[in-house]
């Protein structure tokens, strides 16, 4: 028997056609699509500019495709991205899991554990070879042959390479999987790196953040499900739809920045009035993410709205960016007082030496002239 399509599965669970089409519209909206995008350099329908075309495409896909198998591997992570995902709103994780995707392996969310879960992963990788989406959470330690993260007696590098070999797409969720994140921070004892430093033979889509915005993750997954391809990416392999603007560009406190109204401490009058947090170290101007637009917890708030400067958690090396509460313009590294003293003394010594040499030369010339 052919594999059950998503639509068939929904029908079996009692969804009416109206409810199904409603779901399709919601998915199209969650992708932020008012018209069909170019995917792999082509559009999908002749009338690609109408919103109906998008819903039609979503409906056609859900009618023809089975659920998308997902394998989720956690490496050096705090599980924060998984935690965030469980709080996704549109589409919610519940909607995704029940209707559109099938999470076949997830160390935290799976009911099974240990060898049974590992066996199941092997089975799924074989059964859905070339079809499943591999999601990685956490960085990969390379130091000392990768022994700093061993799961089921195998290093994480091994596990990653094996799982990536048969994946249709690889998604790194969170800053750790994308760029190494906190384990990558100086002095990086485990030599932690992001997935794209290891998997180079296929595109790795990065959804950085600490944690990644859950709706960005779910929408990206749905995009892959609908279009069968990854969305358009920026130079750091992040989907442009969600990482196209800086936090600063979309920040509701931006007018205060323009007007030069800044909070100088977390409890001064300016902070209470909601003035700009630039002087308190906000990294919004160089951080690309959708926090200021999509926000968190179903659009409730985001860090700047809660009165805290942006940490820049969707950018590489954000942990080593010179201190969270130090202004963005301030240098990341500055010379120590001893070094300043040493170069000043060295400069003065060289200057004095040359002056003395010149004086001697002058005296010598005078003597010769006499």
């Amino acid at each position: 028997m052919a594999e059950e399509t998503i639509y068939e599965g929904m029908k079996r669970r009692g969804f009416s056609r109206r409810e199904f089409l409603n779901t399709c519209s919601v998915i199209a909206a969650s992708l932020g699509l008012s018209q069909l995008p170019f995917v792999n350099g082509q559009t999908f329908a002749q009338d690609s500019t109408s919103q109906k075309a998008v819903t039609d495409l979503v409906a056609a896909t859900l009618k023809s495709k089975p659920k998308l198998p997902v394998i989720w591997i956690e490496i050096q992570s705090c599980t924060g991205c998984s935690e965030a995902l469980t709080r996704s709103h549109s589409p919610s994780l519940k909607d995704l899991v029940l209707n559109h995707i099938s999470v076949e392996y997830h160390e935290t969310l799976s009911a099974a554990a240990g060898f049974q879960l590992e066996e199941n992963k092997q089975k799924i990788m074989k059964e859905y070879n070339g079809k499943y989406v591999l999601v990685i959470e956490g960085s990969i330690p390379l130091a000392d042959d990768g022994i700093y993260c061993v799961i089921g007696g195998r290093t994480s590098v091994d596990i990653l390479k094996e799982a990536a070999a048969g994946a249709a797409a690889v998604i790194s969720t969170g800053n750790c999987a994308a760029f190494g994140g906190i384990p990558h921070a100086n002095p990086n004892p485990t030599d932690a790196v992001g997935v794209w430093k290891i998997i180079t033979d296929k595109p790795v889509l990065n959804i950085p953040g600490c944690p990644a915005i859950p709706e960005v993750f779910t929408a990206t997954l749905v995009h892959f499900l609908i279009f069968g391809a990854l969305p358009e990416l920026d130079s750091l392999n992040r989907p442009k739809a969600f990482y196209g603007n800086t936090i600063h560009d979309r920040c509701y406190r931006r007018p205060f920045y323009e007007a030069g109204k800044f909070a100088l401490s977390f409890d001064d009058e300016a902070a209470q009035k909601g003035h700009c947090l630039y002087k308190l170290g906000c990294k919004g101007p160089i951080t690309y993410n959708s926090c200021a637009v999509m926000k968190w917890d179903g659009g409730l708030s985001f860090p700047i709205q809660s009165g805290h400067p942006c940490l820049g958690c969707s950018e590489p090396n954000f942990w080593d960016g010179g201190g969270f509460y130090q202004g963005l313009s301030a240098p990341i590294e500055k010379p120590e007082l001893v070094a300043v003293g040493a170069v000043a003394a060295a400069g003065a010594a060289v200057g004095l030496g040359m002056a003395m040499a010149n004086n001697l030369k002058k005296k010598h010339l005078h003597k010769e002239q006499e």
């Binding site: 323009e258 130090q326 990341i332 300043v340 170069v343 003394a345 200057g351 004095l352």
Partner: protein
């Protein structure tokens, strides 16, 4: 291209090295100039040299800039006087009273201060950039300046102009991504820091020495100088 990585380098190790070269280089220049020495008074001065110095600073900072027709500098070359004056004033305001720049000072010396609103600093930046362009054109057009301008003068102009213009573009998000412009700005500032001690841009430090020496000379009351 990962501009944030370049920016990290320009704000990090490169800035550190550039600042050390600047400090070492300026001390070298300072010692060299002081070691040149100055002539001893052969006759005791009746006037106060300190008073002369003070009057010289008062005149230079608070009186003559507001009565420029008194000195030939204005009547003979008003462009140099006006554009040069505006350029220097704008530069000081931007460096000390622009918020991002104050934060650099704060991180280096530990003291912060209130800053001007962005639109005001922004206007000063625009006026400063325009005055720099006028000064360059004047350098090419004025027959005397043309004669005394070598490649070093033009290069020095460029080295100061690039940080100015990249800073302005960055504030207005013009043409490039913010972090790319921030990287250009920081790289050019790092180069400027390294270049200052070995160029005539170091005049900002020597200006005060020459002003003091001249003031002391003016304050002297003696038969022989």
């Amino acid at each position: 291209m990962d501009w944030n990585a370049i920016l990290e380098f320009a704000r990090g190790p490169l800035f550190k090295v550039a600042l050390l070269v600047f400090i070492g280089g300026m001390f070298y220049r300072l010692v060299r100039v002081i070691s040149l020495g100055w002539s001893k008074d052969k006759v005791d001065s009746k006037g106060s040299k300190v008073k002369g110095v003070l009057i010289s600073y008062m005149k230079g900072f608070f009186i003559l800039p507001f009565f420029p027709w008194v000195k030939n500098t204005f009547t003979k070359n008003p462009i140099t006087f006006l554009a040069g004056g505006i350029f220097h004033l704008g530069l000081f305001l931007i460096i000390f009273l622009g918020t991002p720049h104050m934060l650099v000072w704060k991180s280096l010396i530990g003291i912060g201060w209130y800053t001007l609103p962005l639109p005001i600093v922004d206007w000063f930046a625009a006026v400063t950039i325009v005055s720099m362009i006028i000064l360059l054109i004047n350098r090419f057009v004025n027959p005397v300046l043309k004669l005394i301008s070598g490649p070093a003068e033009k290069f020095n102009w460029l080295v100061v102009f690039i940080p100015m213009v990249t800073g302005y573009m960055m504030t207005h998000h013009l043409f490039f991504r913010y972090e790319a412009l921030f990287s250009f700005h920081m790289l050019s500032v790092d180069f400027l820091l390294i270049w200052i001690p070995f160029s005539r841009i170091s005049h900002f430090m020597f200006y005060f020495f020459s002003k003091s020496i001249h003031g002391a000379q003016f304050g002297k009351r003696a038969v022989t100088p």
